[in-house]
């Protein structure tokens, strides 16, 4: 594989919960080690509450990690001043309605990161840069002085993308960037993200719960369940040959927009609910819903191991 850009070692994010109903520790991200190569798109899928967004945020130190290490270009950036790296590592948020300040104009939203990192010499240069960014994401200069409420969801997401790209990052966490958008608009944004990646040589961590979207955009895909990575493989390989029973169920549950008579695979429907992250099952966390669970699954905490070259799974049965 080409040169590595981002690497995590045993990254952990624990939240202490204490209220009238319950107390304890939620292990939102429970020891994730992976690396992302330059120019690669790593997809991260999993159900809500599995810790995929928390992982993305921890990676950018928007929440300080409980334990583990983050490396950027081989350099440990877990501790100390993160500001210089924040310019290199950006994020696009899920909800284009909540992630833009309603009282700022589009120009100010896109210009704010430029102000923070002092990336212009004079006002004229700032303005030119903002216009260039807006054009890049398919908006025009008329839009600059408007406010977020004047835009549709897809256009707002474009503004969010322009803001993330303003500081010329090399790594962008895309946290469910299309799940709040209509289907016809989703494709526009996905295509734009792909185009930007090519043009600006970006590396993506693409977090989503929509497996078809992730398959489309990613080179490799990681599957998370209750804070742990259960499978990691090249995108095509993962969908063709899922090894972990959870991945198998997940892929089989995707509704496919095709005539029923053309679908040959049998749908596998998982029993039960996702266990509470406050009180996860012992051993393999998936065993309570796993159709293949054996007694030993309750005892051994499974570790990610290489099943085939480049294809990792944490299931102890395979």
């Amino acid at each position: 594989m080409s040169e590595e850009l981002i690497r995590t070692e045993g990254l952990k994010q624990y939240f202490h919960v204490k209220n009238n109903f319950s107390r304890g520790v939620v292990k939102a991200v429970d020891g994730i080690s992976l690396s992302i190569a330059k120019g690669e798109t790593l997809g991260l899928v999993g159900e809500s509450g599995c810790g995929k967004s928390t992982f993305g945020r921890t990676l950018l130190r928007l929440i300080e990690p409980t334990d583990g290490k983050i490396f950027y270009e081989g350099k440990d950036v877990t501790k100390g001043d993160f500001t210089p790296y924040r310019r290199k590592m950006q994020i696009i948020f899920q909800d284009p309605y909540a992630s833009l300040d309603p009282r700022m104009t589009v120009a100010d939203i896109v210009g704010e990161p430029l102000d923070i990192h002092k990336l212009y010499k004079n006002k004229k240069e700032r303005k030119e840069r903002i216009m260039e960014l807006l054009r890049m994401v398919g908006l025009n200069s008329d839009h600059a002085q408007r406010f977020p409420h004047e835009f549709s969801g897809g256009q707002r997401q474009r503004i969010g993308i322009a803001r993330a790209l303003a500081v010329q990052p090399s790594f962008v966490v895309c946290d469910e960037p299309v799940s709040a958008l209509d289907v016809s608009i989703q494709a526009q944004i996905i295509n734009m993200l792909e185009e930007m990646q090519k043009k600006l040589k970006l590396t993506y961590l693409f977090i989503a719960h929509d497996l078809s979207v992730v398959k489309h955009i990613s080179d490799r895909v990681g599957v998370m369940y209750l804070g742990s990575l259960v499978e990691l493989a090249p995108s095509d390989e993962l969908y063709r040959n899922p090894i972990h029973p959870y991945t198998q169920a997940l892929i089989s549950a995707i509704p496919i927009a095709k005539p029923k008579s053309e679908i040959t695979t049998k749908r596998q429907i998982l029993k039960g609910e996702i266990p509470s992250p406050l009180n996860p099952p012992s051993g393999c966390k998936f065993r309570t819903r796993c159709p293949m669970a054996k007694p030993e699954c309750a005892e051994v905490v499974p570790q990610l191991h290489e099943v085939m070259p480049g294809h990792y799974s944490s299931c102890i049965l395979k």
Partner: protein
């Protein structure tokens, strides 16, 4: 097949300070007994407003401006408030998109299910408990006796949606309206919920109106499909047919813009943004974004053209008159 629901030329508008929003603009479709109808469309296409109209839930500034909704032989749009109330729950059940906010957080699940049972059948005490437990079993909730005494916050999203289904079925309705029932849920839970709806539909021969934006769900569960855009139905067909042989450019565009698992071809998005219903275009609502837009599309609303048995499309491309003129008038 006998029709349970017939919507004829329905028009619903919202009269806002900024002007009239034609949320539903002259739509007609039917739903047969024991049939699952998939209603597909983007946000703002009018799919939920149609459902609200069937339930008599359109409120000011919204108003039914024309057309009729015939449910089981009676016109819902002409009913009094009292008559519509007796329809809700008993004849038509409804489940909503967001299971997190559709239940009352300060009442137990049992109390909320039993409220309906008391209203519909006058059931009280032990009898009501028994029936409520039965309903929870029907939607595969484990330990229903214990669950009845719990509050909504003790349930996960998928379980709340199942409780919603149980409540919707309490009155033994002839029709279930499921408005984006799984949008807020994860894929594995979504598969469970859809399976429950399908099973129940078979078991009690209920009609289902399944409103969704996910074409995959429709392909899997529906018998027939209507595709809505900008308050109009642009295409309607049996489910197999619409995926095998889509006719309207919008339907084709939708199918092309979703990523497929078995190919990595680039996505073909539908360019542009959804129409502004306050100032709808004069002709076809999709014309501005359509790759095959012709001159006539910008000025005249396309009529429905029959593509094949039960398959209709509202597009000038399929109109015999436009076919004759094709080639000369292409705008784009």
């Amino acid at each position: 097949m006998e029709n349970l629901l017939e919507i004829k030329h329905l028009k619903v508008s919202f009269f806002t300070p900024a002007g009239e929003v034609k949320a539903v603009n002259d739509i007609s479709y039917t739903l047969g007994k024991g049939e699952i109808l998939g209603v597909v469309g983007e946000s703002g296409s009018g799919k939920s407003v149609t459902a609200s109209t069937v339930m008599g839930l359109v409120e000011s500034p919204g108003r039914i401006v024309g057309g009729s909704v015939i449910f089981d032989g009676k016109d819902v749009t002409k009913m009094s408030k009292q008559e519509i109330r007796s329809l809700r729950g008993r004849e038509i059940g409804m489940i909503f998109q967001d299971p997190m906010t559709s239940l009352n957080p300060v009442y137990t699940i049992g109390a909320q299910i039993k409220e309906g049972l008391k209203l519909y059948y006058g059931l009280k005490g032990k009898e009501a408990d028994k029936k409520a437990i039965e309903l929870l079993k029907l939607v595969s909730i484990n330990e229903p006796e214990r669950r009845l005494k719990q509050y909504p916050h003790e349930f996960s999203g998928g379980m709340r949606q199942r409780v919603m289904i149980a409540m919707a079925l309490a009155g033994n309705p002839k029709m279930l309206i499921a408005d984006e029932p799984t949008t807020a849920l994860d894929v594995t839970i979504q598969a469970q919920i859809l399976e429950i709806i399908k099973e129940l539909q078979k078991k009690i021969n209920m009609s289902v109106m399944l409103i969704t934006h996910d074409l995959g769900i429709v392909a899997d569960k529906a018998d027939k499909v209507v595709v809505m855009y900008g308050g109009r139905i642009v295409e309607s067909a049996p489910c197999e047919e619409i995926f095998r042989n889509p006719a309207h450019p919008y339907t084709i565009g939708l199918l092309n813009s979703i990523p497929k698992l078995d190919s990595s071809d680039p996505l073909v998005p539908i360019e542009g943004t959804p129409i502004d219903l306050l100032n709808p275009p004069k002709g076809c609502p999709f014309a501005q974004r359509c790759q095959k837009c012709m001159k006539v599309c910008l000025s005249h609303m396309p009529p429905y053209t029959k593509i094949s048995e039960n398959h209709e499309s509202a597009c000038w491309l399929h109109d015999p008159r436009a076919k004759a003129a094709a080639g000369k008038e292409a705008v784009k």
